[in-house]
């Protein structure tokens, strides 16, 4: 599943960062996303909801759907 498809309130684990340009992958990694990290969809933003608030470990990151779509997540085992 893609991070962008994670329903609000659901937790998951980052499986991989793919389908991203090298530049986008670098950005996502620098802000902290990495394989094995715990993520949780907190909420979709207002007015159409393309902007997402995601918990990453103990931090909260704002990003948009298209970028979140390049983060592949799997169920917490």
């Amino acid at each position: 599943m893609k991070l962008s498809e994670l329903p609000p309130g659901r937790r998951a684990r980052v499986a991989s960062i793919d389908n991203a340009t090298a530049e986008l992958e670098a950005k996502l990694r620098e802000v902290g996303f990495s394989e094995g990290d715990e993520v949780e969809m907190l909420t979709h933003g207002p007015f159409g909801g393309r902007t997402l608030a995601v918990r990453l470990n103990r931090s909260i990151i704002a990003l948009r759907g298209p970028e979140a779509a390049s983060i592949r997540v799997e169920d917490v085992s």
């Binding site: 950005k27 990290d37 907190l42 933003g45 207002p46 909801g49 470990n57 103990r58 704002a62 990003l63």
Partner: protein, 610 residues
């Protein structure tokens, strides 16, 4: 012996600015949103052993690949690239202790640069309150660099850090190796290593801060969130009007009393005229607005320091995206409500050059605090203090003026992004910090700095303008009205241009010095009208009521929503855009909008029979 140069490096929101203030005592702006530190700031302090250190505060970075102007400055300084700054002797790296796992990779990237460094796990107090336990000796051993836990706001929390600095100074300069920019493969492996180290060093890591989660359930909610944002902004504008009333009346009475006392004490003559009509009427009519400006700044400071500002940017992202910008542009625009200058400078955190340019171009449309004196004066004089439903009509008009600025900024940005500054929408990636209670000491000092800056402007600048204007409006002769004076002669050149939009000679006179800074126009009106009515002690608002028609007053308000009347803003815009052409464009479009808006307001009001 030269001071030891220590650069403060860390992610946005890791608390660099607060630590900087704590160590140096040199105060600077401290806030919570991404990338507030846009200027190079340095300060001095001494280690326990007495070695003097120059501390350099750098903009926040997530890694060593610089994208925005801000990050480029930070990375250039860290890697000692020529032309920016002399390379630092060592790095002081700050990481949020509450989430080591997410942030540790930055420390590893910096370590690879080969400069001596000290890692500070900051905000350890908040992390410990959450229940996070970190094995610091283990972390130190695995990283191979000294690690210390700090709490930037407290002296005790900084003691351990200071104690370790002498060791860092002793270690001296190591040979740096390269600029540290990593390939994507390199970044992946650094991250893997960082996660492995974090896993060993974190002994206990409970779920994230419960208070923040609870607040965010409301604040980030798709329906409740925008309501909270709108309510906060509305409260801010009502407060500016309602809470400031009492202290403003006191200040006003003080200046009126002072003027009356001097009037009776001094003999009639030039000196008395200069002091009473020039200095007291001019400077006094501006200082009266200090309470309003402090309330506005207090709100913005609290929004920043509490961590809400990044949430506001999140809320606005979707709307900004439709305009063609990204949510991050909301932060510079919101700070522009206080003053467009820091707003334009904080636009440096925007990665895309066209987006940054657009943000700067529309920043002056956000109603800055210098326009408050103008709005307040006119509203108090011409809008009746009745209530409409729950709200005062005066507050509503004020809100409407702010709204007019915001709406036109949206329209202008929309048009620009489709014509002159076209470009693809940029991705948003922004950390939203844990909520914090603002540090009272930090808050008071920041507020004091802003209030003091305003008073200094009133003191120096407005004083000078008031005196010069008093001279121009008193000579060669003011016996037969202002038209015979130098100021009147200057004003009458502008008068034909301004007459079609309802402005009279006095406004034309006040607009000229008003170009230096917006609030000066109020001081100038104060001086011009004080000279005309020698026995009117009811203040400027009263004088305006009898001299202006309602359509003129409304046109004057409309003019000020748009007019680019601030030399400092234009100068900073030129510096930030590095282009005279764009600056001329900005001034031109703003003037044109001001003229059209004032004219349209005037004729509509006339037509409506107001």
């Amino acid at each position: 012996m030269n001071a030891f140069r220590l650069a403060l490096v860390g992610a946005p929101n890791s608390g660099k600015s607060t630590l900087f203030n704590g160590l140096t005592g040199g105060r600077a702006k401290v806030a919570n949103y991404a990338g507030v530190t846009v200027e190079r700031r340095s300060g001095a302090f001494a280690t326990p052993a007495g070695r003097s250190v120059e501390l350099i505060d750098l903009p926040g970075i997530y890694g060593l690949t610089a994208r925005s102007l801000d990050e480029r400055i930070a990375v250039d300084v860290i890697s000692g690239r020529e032309g920016v700054d002399r390379a630092p002797d060592a790095l002081l790296v700050l990481i949020d202790a509450a989430d080591l796992r997410t942030h540790l990779h930055l420390a590893l990237q910096l370590k690879a640069l080969g400069r001596p460094m000290l890692l500070a796990l900051n905000m350890i107090d908040l992390a410990e309150r959450d229940g996070v336990v970190i094995d610091i000796p283990k972390l130190e051993a695995r990283l191979g660099i000294p690690v210390v836990a700090t709490c930037a706001t407290r002296k005790a929390g900084r003691a351990a850090l200071l104690a370790r600095l002498d060791g860092l100074v002793e270690a001296g300069q190591a040979a740096p190796t390269g600029d540290g920019a990593l390939t994507i493969a390199g970044l992946r492996s650094v991250q893997r290593e960082a996660r492995a180290i974090a896993k060993e060093a974190i002994l206990k890591e409970p779920a994230m801060n419960k208070v923040t989660r609870a607040i965010d359930r409301v604040v980030l909610h798709p329906v409740l969130g925008p309501i909270v944002l709108a309510a906060l902004l509305f409260l801010m504008f009502q407060a500016v009007f309602a809470w400031a009333k009492a202290p403003m009346d006191v200040i006003d009475a003080g200046f009126t009393g002072l003027g009356a006392w001097i009037s009776t004490t001094l003999p009639d003559g030039l000196l008395k005229g200069l002091i009473v009509d020039g200095v007291i009427a001019g400077v006094g009519s501006v200082i009266v607005f200090l309470p309003q400006i402090l309330i506005l700044f207090a709100f913005i400071l609290l929004l920043e320091a509490s961590g809400y500002m990044a949430r506001a940017a999140f809320m606005m992202d979707e709307l900004m995206l439709r305009v063609g910008l990204n949510g991050r542009a909301f932060i510079p625009l919101l700070s522009s409500f206080a003053c467009a200058i820091p707003g334009m400078m904080s636009a440096r955190t925007i990665e895309n050059e066209n987006d940054r340019l657009t943000t700067i171009l529309v920043a002056p449309l956000m109603t800055c605090s210098a326009r408050l004196p103008v709005y307040t004066l006119i509203i108090a004089a011409f809008i009746p203090p009745t209530t409409v439903g729950l709200f005062g009509l005066q507050g509503l008009v004020m809100f409407g003026l702010y709204l007019a600025g915001v709406v036109s900024a949206v329209v202008v940005a929309f048009l620009l992004k489709r014509t002159l500054t076209r470009g693809r929408p940029q991705p948003l990636l922004m950390e939203m910090p844990t909520y914090k209670l603002p540090d009272p000491k930090d808050f008071v000092i920041n507020l004091w700095l802003r209030g003091w800056a305003f008073l200094k402007r009133a003191g120096k600048f407005i004083f000078t303008v008031s005196v010069v204007l008093w001279f121009l409006a008193s000579f060669p002769s003011s016996a037969s009205g202002i038209r015979e004076t130098y100021a009147g002669m200057l004003g009458s050149w502008l008068e034909p241009l301004l007459k079609p939009i309802g402005f009279n000679l006095e406004i034309a006179i006040a607009l000229v010095p008003g170009f230096a800074a917006r609030e000066v126009a109020v001081g100038a009106l104060g001086t011009v009208y004080a000279l005309q009515s020698s026995n009117d002690t009811n203040g400027l608002a009263h004088a305006l009521q009898s001299a202006w028609s309602l359509p003129t007053a409304l046109a004057f308000l409309a003019w000020y929503v748009f007019a680019p009347q601030c030399m400092a803003t234009l100068a900073v815009a030129r510096r930030e855009m590095n282009s005279w052409r764009w600056t001329a464009f900005m001034m031109g479009y703003l003037l044109a909008m001001a003229y059209i808006a004032a004219g349209a307001t005037y004729w509509t009001a006339r037509w409506a029979g107001l």
